[in-house]
């Protein structure tokens, strides 16, 4: 009996799945009155987080990583898909169930300036979650040689009530209380608990806590301040009296107040000085060891991710492009996007000779992501049709840019005046297709075949038929990357998955493939 209790409070069993995300989608701005073209911030994501591990989530700004984190703790409503937390789909929860579940998952926010209410003292800020959940419900475990029932104000049987830990352990032998133990986190000492036995078969164990809830909460806040490396006297200070690093510690203390299992860290150090970042990262690691926490660590600083995470998921345009063990992924990226992203890490050695993949342009709008692979518009390893395998790099880039320009043009909203001008055959800002052509293809010798298609597309554009133009180019220069979403391919023994068509047998693997621009 007592062994079991000990094990429970010391550490959680690692390895089993805590969070499982299946085909999760979060769209913004749906159901508009006139036209519904939502921002697809998270667009079909699958992964799982094991108990006690740290999963990193990296990607460019605006790739949807923060939205994903917010959806996991139900700050955003998922559009579809499920988030299984210990097997329960939390996207379906509401009311009291949702509120109860919220104790288990907390978030540390990116900006410590904005995440703490300046009008409240540090103590009040950390205490608030405790007040909201009417903490504590004191969990009692009775170790007795007879049948017992537990009774008392604000007291619950830790073995039958979910989410309540064994805070007070009462040992009953031969009709009298032989031992009472209390758990440190609950801010109770032996003197604060009065235990009384009444009747027999079943014996009623009456537990009375003499400290008031207020006192227990205040003591708990002081202890939390101590845990995160602040001083208990800071209770009555205001956030603006602290530095960024200290404020972030307060944010961490607030997240830990309810003893959650899962914490989403949304770029917890990116707003801090480099010197302070390490302290906070170490604190987070220590807390993870101490309380057996499971982290989702959102970041765009890759070196931080490499330092703290067990596994990493790389996101691009609402999709997870690659997910695997940190070291392995950093040492040998499989996905073209990961490859490009990692090559952007600055090398401390200036003489080191490294290839750097510079991505062209900007990510497409998440309102209108590409139909095929999300990365297709910028991918340096994009699959080409067979007949253009040996086309020179400049021409290929020019064609890709041309397609990109047409894509953007089609998306651009035309004002009423511009539509009227178009109808009247007047010049609009969209009508300079010849100029675009000259700029892109002016210095390049196009083969007859290519030129023919480019011209045909340009004619469509001149007729205000961008769609037609894009179709022409796609039929000629497009490939599987433009048409089909890639599946997740398992690419290593450790179960790393990557989201790229090049993992199919008929194509060269991305890590073996030399980008066209490098040839």
């Amino acid at each position: 009996m007592s062994e079991q209790i000990q094990q429970e409070s010391v550490s959680v069993a690692t390895g089993e799945t805590l969070v499982e995300v299946n085909q999760l989608r979060t769209y913004y701005g749906e159901g508009g009155i006139i036209e519904s073209n939502p921002v697809k911030a998270v667009d079909g994501v699958d992964f799982e987080i094991k108990r006690g591990e740290t999963l990193g989530l990296v990607g460019e700004s605006g790739c949807g990583k923060t939205t994903l984190g917010r959806t996991l703790i139900q700050l955003e409503d998922a559009t579809s898909g499920e988030v299984l937390f210990d097997g329960t789909d939390v996207t379906e929860l509401s009311g009291t169930e949702l509120k109860d579940w919220r104790r288990n998952s907390q978030m540390v926010f990116q900006d410590p300036e904005s995440s703490l209410n300046d009008r409240m003292t540090v103590g009040e800020i950390i205490r608030e979650p405790l007040d909201v959940h009417d903490w504590p419900t004191i969990g009692v475990v009775v170790d007795a040689d007879v049948a017992t029932t537990i009774e008392g104000n604000g007291v619950a049987d830790a073995r039958t009530t979910e989410g309540v830990r064994s805070d007070v352990t009462v040992t009953v032998r031969g009709g009298s209380v032989t031992d009472v133990e209390t758990r440190d986190e609950m801010q109770l000492e032996r003197d604060d608990v009065e235990v009384e036995l009444r009747g027999d078969d079943p014996t009623t164990v009456r537990v009375k806590v003499t400290r008031s809830r207020d006192q227990i909460r205040r003591a708990r806040v002081r202890e939390l301040l101590d845990t995160v490396g602040l001083r208990p006297e800071h209770y009555y200070r205001y956030p603006h009296q602290f530095s960024g690093g200290q404020r972030q510690r307060v944010g961490i203390a607030r997240a830990l107040a309810l003893e959650p299992e899962f914490v989403v860290l949304d770029e917890p150090v990116s707003a801090l000085d480099v010197s302070v970042q390490a302290q906070i990262l170490n604190l987070l690691e220590d807390l993870q060891d101490e309380f057996g926490l499971t982290y989702l660590f959102i970041a765009h600083d890759l070196s931080v991710v490499r330092h703290i995470c067990d596994r990493v998921a790389v996101m691009y345009l609402g999709n997870v492009m690659e997910l695997g063990e940190t070291e392995e992924l950093f040492a040998n990226p499989k996905n073209p996007y990961t490859h490009a992203l990692l090559s952007a890490i600055p090398e401390p050695d200036p003489t080191a000779d490294r290839e750097r993949v510079t991505l062209r342009g900007t990510p497409p709008s998440p309102r209108d992501p590409p139909t095929g692979c999300p990365f297709t518009t910028r991918c340096p390893m994009k699959i080409r049709p067979d007949k253009y395998q040996n086309m020179d790099a400049d021409t290929w880039v020019a064609i890709e840019v041309f397609r990109e320009v047409l894509r953007e043009r089609e998306r651009a909203e035309k004002s009423l005046t511009e539509q009227a001008k178009e109808l009247l055959g007047m010049e609009t800002r969209f009508s300079d297709i010849d100029e675009i052509k000259r700029e892109l293809f002016g210095d390049i010798d196009l083969s007859r075949e290519v030129e023919e298609h480019v011209d045909r597309a340009a004619e469509h554009v001149a007729d205000n038929d961008e769609q037609g133009a894009r179709r022409v180019l796609r039929e000629e220069f497009g490939s599987i990357c433009d048409d089909e979403r890639p599946d997740d391919y398992v690419v290593s023994d450790t179960g790393r998955v990557s989201h790229c068509h090049r993992h199919m047998d008929e194509y060269t693997e991305p890590d073996e493939f030399v980008p066209y621009t490098e040839r």
């Binding site: 009008r119 400290r211 003591a219 009555y236 603006h240």
Partner: protein, 468 residues
């Protein structure tokens, strides 16, 4: 950890126990408070019993019966029937001084009560409220406002005791009361107040004028002079303070509450809720306000609610109902801004109720703006009520109202009877400014980031930018 749980901590003992352990200071303070209360207990008993029928009369320190100033002067110059035979002006002044002294002592005693609690019974050596008080202590402009507002509130509270005479005697029922005086022939004569008033009128000529701080020919002292009807203006003003304060404060409080509630709701929920309130608010704002108020006053004039407190309640409600969109518009922006802060998300993430989130995490940030706007609008309401009185609407005569005095005196501004418009006008300006100053002071005090003196920059500038 050891210093965390070093107990017994003081906070572990309840306030009742803390007082029981050391009852001295608390009992001392309580005795003083009871003594102060006893001096005026009669007035409270009078008021409470008055609610249930005929009021019970008890002697009170500050009553006009104890320190009478209504008397007459014998030809030899001696005063009869006044307090200790003092001249009427001194008797009146003594009463005024006593009333204000009494109020100040009460204020001081409450402050001392707080200090007693802070020094002897509070578990924490320091709490955030201490800083708020310190900031207010160093805020001269706010203190100026506080003093004037205090004087105004005392004037409204003690109106019956402060006036040289009463509303009943000189305004509402002058022909049922009489006074004695020595006439030109040197004989003691009895005359009704109404008839006496006819000879103490201020009509703009030096012959027909009783100015500030003057006696009329019946030996009555008029601190603010008389009205064109010959009635005492100080009595009129003191009583009018009550109604102005009532309308202004209740209208601004009601519309402030509506505005704050809507601002928080629209900022928190956004979307359709916001759109709905925007449409309603803009519709109300697009109406020409004064005309609409006049229309409502006329339409509702026959109903039962228009009778309560001479029409003050209905006026307060009308001003609240038409005024909230202006306040709401001015705090909607700040509310929207604060609703985007991450601490709102944080509150949501641990399951805080929307209501509490709005109150704890959003309301304090719009309160500063609201105080500034509300104190500015307060003047507008006082002035609008005066405007309505001018048109013969609003507060039913003869109930005194400051605005009516301004209007009555309008045609005498350039004459000997300048005081009729001037004094109420200056008082309106002073009171409105004081509420504004107090609003500034409170706003700076509740903002922990504002340092006294320099904190007036951002919010005040932002606030005056839109509404002034």
């Amino acid at each position: 950890m050891p210093d965390v749980s070093s107990r017994p901590h003081r906070e572990d003992v309840s306030i009742r126990q803390r007082i029981a352990e050391n009852p001295g200071p608390a009992l001392g303070w309580l005795a003083g408070a009871l003594l102060l209360f006893a001096l005026e207990a009669g007035a409270v008993v009078h008021f409470v019993t008055g609610l249930f029928g005929s009021p019970v009369e008890l002697p009170t320190l500050l009553s006009r019966e104890l320190i009478p100033n209504n008397g007459y002067q014998t030809p030899s110059g001696a005063w009869q029937e006044t307090f200790l035979g003092l001249p009427a002006a001194y008797a009146w002044a003594l009463r005024v001084v006593l009333v204000y002294a009494y109020s100040f002592v009460w204020m001081y005693w409450l402050w001392r009560g707080y200090l007693v609690f802070r020094e002897n019974y509070r578990y924490a050596d320091w709490t955030p409220r201490d800083d708020m008080i310190d900031r207010l202590r160093g805020h001269r402009w706010g203190q100026f406002g506080a003093i004037i507002v205090f004087a105004f509130v005392v004037m409204a509270l003690f109106a019956p005791a402060l006036g040289p005479t009463t509303v009943e005697r000189t305004i509402s029922n002058p022909y049922s009361h009489s006074i004695e005086y020595y006439n030109d022939q040197g004989q003691l004569e009895n005359i009704t107040v109404g008839s006496a008033n006819l000879d103490s009128r201020s009509q703009g000529t030096p012959q027909q004028n009783v100015g500030p701080m003057q006696y009329d020919q019946f030996g009555r002292f008029h601190p603010f002079g008389t009205l064109p009807s010959g009635k005492d203006m100080f009595t009129f003003m003191a009583s009018g303070a009550r109604i102005s304060l009532f309308i202004g404060l209740s209208a601004i409080i009601v519309s402030g509450l509506i505005a704050a509630a809507f601002a928080l709701l629209t900022a928190y929920y956004k979307g359709l809720v916001d759109l709905g309130v925007v449409i309603v608010g803009d519709s109300i704002m697009s109406l020409p306000r004064l005309l609409f108020v006049i229309l409502l006053t006329v339409v509702l004039s026959g109903t039962w609610i228009a009778e309560i407190y001479s029409g003050a309640v209905i006026l307060a409600l009308i001003f609240a109902g038409t005024g909230w969109p202006f306040l709401w518009r001015s705090v909607r922006g700040p509310a929207m801004q604060v609703s985007e802060q991450e601490w709102i998300d944080a509150a949501k993430s641990f399951g805080q109720k929307p209501r509490v989130t709005m109150r704890k995490h959003m309301a304090p940030y719009i309160l500063g703006y609201l105080l500034v706007y509300a104190s500015m609008s307060l003047g507008g309401i006082v002035i609008a009520v005066a405007g309505l009185s001018f048109l013969g609407l609003g507060i039913n005569p003869p109930t005194p109202e400051w605005g009516r005095a301004v209007d009555i005196g309008q045609s005498y501004v350039t004459t000997a009877s300048w005081h009729i418009s001037f004094i109420p006008g200056v008082m309106i300006v002073l009171v409105v400014t004081a509420f504004n100053a107090l609003g500034d002071g409170i706003r700076d005090a509740i903002d922990p980031q504002s340092e006294t003196g320099e904190g007036e920059g951002n919010e005040a500038a932002a606030a005056t930018g839109g509404g002034a």
